[in-house]
Symmetry: C2
Subunit: 253 residues, 2 copies
């Protein structure tokens, strides 16, 4: 059995999302941005950057309200970081996987392994505000998908993406931290390959490949918080939590 050759894929940036504030209706803002980009949000995958999801959900912490712990003060001194930022990072962290070179690689409450537990200061509405990851970004993706469906945008996959570093290579790549409406990992184990041999282990992390593709258009200073991917039809079920490896099966924790 061999799959059909896939169709071309088109990625369109949706730049016209205004500055997002807590309580904003993201579905309406994105639907409007898609309209002004001439895109029909249907039969494809919408990738939305974490930052605007977190802002709409009010996942903001004013550093002025944060009392840093002794540990945060110590790490802040070592890393030349604001100890209040470090404190917010530690509160989001279940385990510091690595600490060195002035970087904290944290396992977050959600199970992501990333720098600073995903807590970011850049692009925040004020100098002294930390933006946290959504409480549950799979739920955020599902909620956005439902809201878009009720606006008539159906057969849509939704990804919430964030920009992560990785071991061994310089540079950041966009990664899925939440998804809804399709299988984030395509399992082709047991299908045969081009020469008829059975493929042994091939699970493709589609959600991450789609997030990385959208990331090409989400260059930080161009103001593109969402990208629509046309031609990849959402199939199957699942969410990003399903694709996080169990710590016990992981060789790098």
């Amino acid at each position: 059995m061999s799959a059909a050759v896939p169709s071309p894929i088109r990625l369109t940036p949706l730049p016209d999302v205004p500055a997002v504030a807590p309580g904003d209706d993201l579905a309406e803002l994105i639907a409007a941005a898609a309209g002004s980009a001439g895109v029909r949000l249907k039969d494809g995958v919408l990738v939305v950057c974490q930052k605007i999801v977190s802002k709409a959900e009010g996942r903001l912490v004013a550093l002025a309200d944060v009392e840093p712990s002794e540990e945060a003060i110590r790490i802040g001194r070592e890393d030349e970081k604001d100890p209040r930022h470090v404190e917010v990072v530690l509160r989001e962290t279940v385990r510091v996987v690595r600490h060195g070179h002035r970087v904290m690689i944290c396992e977050t409450r959600h199970g992501f392994v990333c720098a600073n537990a995903g807590v970011d200061l850049s692009n925040a509405p004020g100098e002294d505000v930390a933006v946290l990851l959504p409480e549950n970004s799979d739920t955020s993706a599902a909620r956005l998908r439902d809201a878009l469906a009720s606006l008539g945008h159906t057969n849509l996959g939704v990804i919430v993406s964030d920009t992560f570093g990785r071991p061994w290579r310089d540079g950041l790549v966009d990664c899925a931290i939440g998804s809804a409406g399709f299988a984030p990992v395509i399992d082709v184990r047991g299908r045969s390959d081009w020469t008829g041999r059975e493929l042994q282990v091939t699970m493709t992390a589609s959600a991450d490949q789609l997030a990385a593709a959208a990331g090409i258009l989400m260059v930080k200073d161009a103001g593109v918080p969402a990208v629509f991917i046309e031609g990849f039809l959402p199939e199957g079920e699942g969410c990003v939590a399903d694709m996080l490896r169990e710590p016990s099966e992981d060789l790098f924790r």
Copy 2:
């Protein structure tokens, strides 16, 4: 300073590449496949999967000719793998970064960290042939780019991609193992972000994002060994070797 909103990107699969054998002229085969897909290979990035590059370069080892070492026999026994396959993996490896769960994560001679040093048995022309990574996949990319330029396909970036696992997450993603004709990492440090704050550290691993995007169309059993990405204009210089992190700066080696 803020960058312009990027243009849409279009990814087209180039399925019509015939089975590749050692000595084949990859540029001619790919140019022909692009022609039959109605694609002009120009002003964009071509992503070619490692497997056909390795085959064209004759990077094949018949397992019948391999004498496994004692170490290979021991690991083969532990991991239930063909010890001759393990032997080929060890010959490509400068350091076994992790070994467990029947997986060898190796640092290759090139500096990649990946399962089995990139040595693959699936999709090989015969049951008993191992396909090795190219000797130097940046050189492979540059050679292919030059050959395509001489056929009239100019202003082209070229990526050689392979499918890698990663820590912490299930599923594989396509990654750049060689590139030519553009900067594989875009450095936006020092540019200002949406709110005017200076971005502190933002280096985007464009080559890997482009490889991952192409990977969406390179699903293993669909026979798509190359993808053309239109709308991402190749800019700058460099190659994948430049984006590999120094072991001394790496927290996971």
